[in-house]
């Protein structure tokens, strides 16, 4: 009898200790964790100060990607409306976020520092198609709150 009451008290003791202890979980999404500044999440395509796309469509990221997640189609940059800082740009740029292993090699290979991995990691969708990020999506990256 006494033994049993002792066991209950011990159990409760653990419970009350845990109640007061600092928490390991986060009340996501109301509160979010701070990540390392080197965290690699979803890609973005950067622009320069004048708003020109940095990507020249060289395809080096496509070539280096171990997961074959990137597709680049290059073309002569349109002369009338300067979208690019030079005469070549990518008309089409896609990252398949299901294939991507977030290794960051694309970022490392890029000669113009155009493709970058942002900390944004809220990657979920109802179908595979919407997990392919196209150029417009990458040019306007989502911000992690």
């Amino acid at each position: 009898m006494l033994d049993e009451a002792k066991a209950i008290l011990k159990g409760l003791g653990t419970t009350f200790k845990a109640l007061a202890a600092p928490r390991d979980t986060y009340p996501y999404p109301e509160k979010r964790r701070e990540y390392s500044p080197r965290y690699r999440g979803k890609h973005m395509l950067a622009k320069d100060e004048e708003g020109h796309e940095l990507c020249v469509g060289c395809g080096l990221c496509e070539a280096v990607c171990p997961a074959h997640a990137i597709r680049v189609v290059a073309a002569e940059a349109p002369g009338d409306q300067p979208v690019s800082w030079t005469n070549r740009y990518s008309v089409d740029y896609e990252v398949d976020l299901i294939r991507c292993i977030f290794c960051g090699m694309c970022e490392e290979a890029c000669p113009t520092n155009a493709v970058r991995l942002t900390p944004f990691n809220e990657l979920a969708a109802y179908d595979r198609q919407s997990m392919i990020a196209d150029k417009q999506e990458l040019l306007h990256p989502a911000i992690r709150k």
Partner: protein, 773 residues
């Protein structure tokens, strides 16, 4: 022979060999920019530095001839230092824009810099800025900043092609490659400078920013646009062919192409490309079309047997496809009426067929009827290279209804009347070897008069026929009797070599012959006559377009009208679409694996770099489906190949033709303008959007300035041509080089249906003159 040591290996080479070539024979790679074996040494880039013992300084391997006992080191600290220095200098003003450069990834400046170059340049000053992506022509771009001034391009155009359209301008670091007075380069060989340029300075405009070397399918292939059959590399990207490059074959060719072949690859993606089946002139599902065709085939075979069906092979099909059609026709349908689509009546027996090696070794070449510059451009380059070899002089003569001489290739031409070439050749042969039984047989009907031809020229020709040790005849097949003269000539010249290179098409006709088809013109004519006479119920055209090609349009029309079923397979809808019951879309070159046989009777393999578009299917898909509909087994024999173990990549040798047919002297016209046809790669009826402007400019009839004057045409006009067979309206332009009294019309152009008339004298009248601004 000279013995020397390179990197510890001994080698013996001919006197006068350069160290670079000797090293190449040992498999030692010496980096070069300016040196190219076809162009000879120059020593402009200094990239090829090597160390030669007993020489005080590093020597350029491309300009230093070997010497007895020479000891060469192609590696070592001194050599590395030299190359490093050269590269640092080359990169001083180089823009380093590899990421936007089409050559990036396949560039010798990149490769050598990675291997030998300095990791960092010491030059801090701003780089000199020059023209980027400027035009050399509508097809070629130049980025002067990337140029390493190796001069390959300039020398190729100037010395090798003989059309000096590029030059170096400026001095020192300001030197740039540009065109003469900024005019766009027009030469049909200009595209080769793209392949020659070791860096990304000269670029193909249609390929600009299209792809990178690692995301393409680059396959060994063959150009099928003319019978030369140049070896190519075909680049496919995302299911489209985007580039064609020359592919050098060691000891055989330098990999030159003409611009027709280099940029004319887009016919497969042309808007007029057939990508859906057509039934009675309307697009129809492939399955339904197959069902219908199967029904017709069943009906004809059941009622009259396979002999009521004839198959005409043509177009750009491979030898393997032709063999599949052959087997289907003989085994499933049971017909032996298997012929090849022809646009000229001539034929060259295999026993007479020569190779390009024969051409290089020849001491005399006779062009009969054909101007290779127009009919087989790279053959023109080969002739020029042969002519420039001063160690072995070449006699170059021509027998043709027009002057064949060009500034780049002077030809002593015997200008005949239309249809007189065989007679003139026979006359020269009579003088050279009149008593030979073969010649006597040839002349037994009285040919060999050469009326109106300067006798001294005939004697000159006869001397060539008699004395040339190795004679090569290049012939366009327009005048069929020439075949018999050539056979007799080969017999009379037993002991000396006599070889013929045919420049007529379809480009793979010899391959069709190998597959079992009868390539003789007469066989085709018989089939058409039988069709006209109602002996054939079904005519199947496999890639062929007879209305466009066959020399007698009337006969084709009658045949088309008479046959019950007219089927076609092809890349385009054949002319006279209203006649066809069904047209099915086939695969084009670059979309199937197979071999092509060129004018040398040489087999060359082509691998596909894309898939056929839309509903287009390779030949075997149709054949198996149709055989299924007929309820007969038909398994495509994938193992079959056209090669012969003994003859390697040439088709098996055959003996010289023995029976000599006598020829008659032609009835010669008196005065008047003579209509003359010729095959021309720039006007061969195969469309291209990239080359649209150039093709349009070439698809026109031509008259001499003298005749133009008489008609009152200054540059371009429209004329009315009349002969016994009918009337034709043709656009014409003035051609300075054309012999007066001739009207030259390209063969196989839909807009110039010259096969309504026969070659010979015509009445010409001006309809209007077109002013060009």
């Amino acid at each position: 022979m000279i013995r020397l040591t390179i990197d510890g290996q001994e080698i013996e080479v001919r006197e006068g060999t350069m160290i670079a070539d000797a090293a190449a024979r040992l498999g030692i790679d010496i980096p070069v920019y300016c040196y190219h074996e076809a162009l000879g040494p120059l020593g402009a880039c200094r990239m090829c530095l090597v160390q030669v013992e007993k020489m005080p300084k590093l020597a350029t391997a491309c300009t230093t001839a070997v010497a007895e006992g020479m000891v060469v080191h192609t590696t070592g600290p001194q050599v590395d230092k030299g190359r490093k220095g050269v590269l640092e200098f080359l990169l001083i003003n180089h823009p380093l824009d590899c990421p936007v450069c089409d050559k990036g990834g396949e560039c010798f400046l990149q490769d050598y810099t990675f291997r030998y170059g300095p990791p960092q340049g010491r030059f801090q000053e701003p780089k000199i800025q020059k023209v980027k992506d400027g035009p050399i022509s509508d097809l070629i771009l130049i980025d002067q900043e990337r140029c390493v001034l190796c001069q390959r391009c300039v020398r190729f155009m100037d010395e090798y092609v003989g059309e000096p359209e590029l030059l170096l301008e400026g001095r020192g670091v300001e030197t740039v490659v540009t065109t003469v007075e900024g005019r766009p380069a027009q030469s049909q060989f200009a595209g080769n400078v793209i392949d020659l340029c070791p860096v990304g300075a000269l670029l193909a405009a249609p390929y600009h920013h299209k792809a990178r070397p690692w995301n393409i399918e680059r396959e060994e292939s063959v150009c099928t646009l003319c019978p030369v059959g140049c070896t190519t590399l075909t680049t496919g990207r995302d299911g489209r062919i985007v580039r064609v490059e020359g592919r050098p074959v060691v000891d055989r060719n330098w990999g030159w192409l003409c611009d027709r072949g280099r940029f004319g690859f887009d016919f497969a993606t042309h808007p007029s490309r057939l990508v859906n089946s057509r039934l009675h002139g309307r697009e129809e599902a492939a399955a339904r079309t197959t069902r219908e065709i199967g029904q017709w085939l069943r009906e004809v075979v059941a009622q009259e047997g396979g002999e009521a069906i004839a198959v005409v092979m043509g177009g750009l099909h491979t030898t393997e496809e032709a063999h599949q059609v052959y087997r289907f026709a003989t085994e499933v349908l049971g017909t032996r009426r298997l012929v090849v689509s022809r646009d000229v009546p001539g034929y060259v027996p295999r026993g007479l067929n020569g190779t390009f090696e024969d051409l290089s070794a020849a001491d005399a070449v006779i062009l009969v009827g054909t101007d290779p510059y127009e009919s087989a451009p790279v053959l023109h380059l080969r002739l020029r290279e042969r002519l420039k070899n001063r160690r072995a002089p070449l006699t170059l003569m021509g027998v043709a209804p027009r002057n064949l001489s060009r500034s780049t290739l002077p030809v002593e031409t015997l200008v005949t009347h239309v249809g007189q070439e065989a007679d003139v050749l026979a006359a020269a042969l009579k003088e050279a070897a009149g008593d030979h039984p073969a010649v006597a047989a040839l002349l037994s009907q009285g040919a060999g008069i050469a009326r109106g031809i300067d006798p001294t020229q005939v004697s000159q020709l006869s001397r060539v026929l008699r004395e040339a040790e190795r004679l090569v005849v290049v012939w366009d097949g327009v005048e069929p009797d020439v075949e018999h003269v050539l056979a007799a000539l080969a017999q009379a010249r037993q002991g000396q070599t006599t070889r013929v290179l045919p420049t007529f098409g379809p480009s793979n006709w010899r391959g069709f012959e190998r597959a079992g088809f009868d390539a003789r013109f007469d066989a085709l004519t018989r089939v058409l006559e039988d069709a006209r006479d109602g002996k054939i119920r079904m005519l199947i055209l496999w890639g062929a377009d007879l209305l466009k090609d066959y020399p007698d349009r009337r006969l084709v029309e009658q045949a088309y009208e008479r046959v019950e079923w007219l089927l076609a397979e092809g890349v385009f809808v054949p002319e006279g679409a209203e006649h066809f019951d069904a047209v099915v879309p086939g695969a084009a070159p670059g979309e199937v694996y197979g071999t092509y046989v060129n004018m040398e009777a040489r087999l060359q393999i082509a691998s596909p770099s894309v898939n056929p578009p839309g509903q287009a299917r390779p030949t075997k898909s149709y054949l198996t489906a149709w055989a299924h509909a007929l309820g007969k087994p038909f398994v495509v024999d994938e193992e079959w190949d056209p090669y012969d173990d003994a003859s390697g990549d040439l088709l098996p040798e055959e003996p010289l033709p023995q029976d000599i047919e006598a020829i008659r002297a032609p009835d010669l016209p008196e005065g008047g303008v003579e209509l003359l046809v010729s095959a021309q790669v720039w006007a061969n009826g195969i469309p291209s959007q990239i080359l649209e402007a150039r093709l349009e400019a070439a698809q026109i009839a031509r008259i001499s300035p003298l005749d133009a004057d008489a008609l009152g045409i200054r540059e371009v006009g429209v004329i009315r041509v009349e002969s016994a067979e009918g009337v034709l309206e043709l656009p014409v332009r003035v051609d300075e080089h054309l012999t007066p009294g001739r009207l030259l019309v390209p063969l196989g152009v839909g807009a110039l249906p010259v096969n309504r008339l026969r070659p010979g004298v015509v009445k010409v009248q001006r309809l209007e003159e077109v002013q060009t601004p």
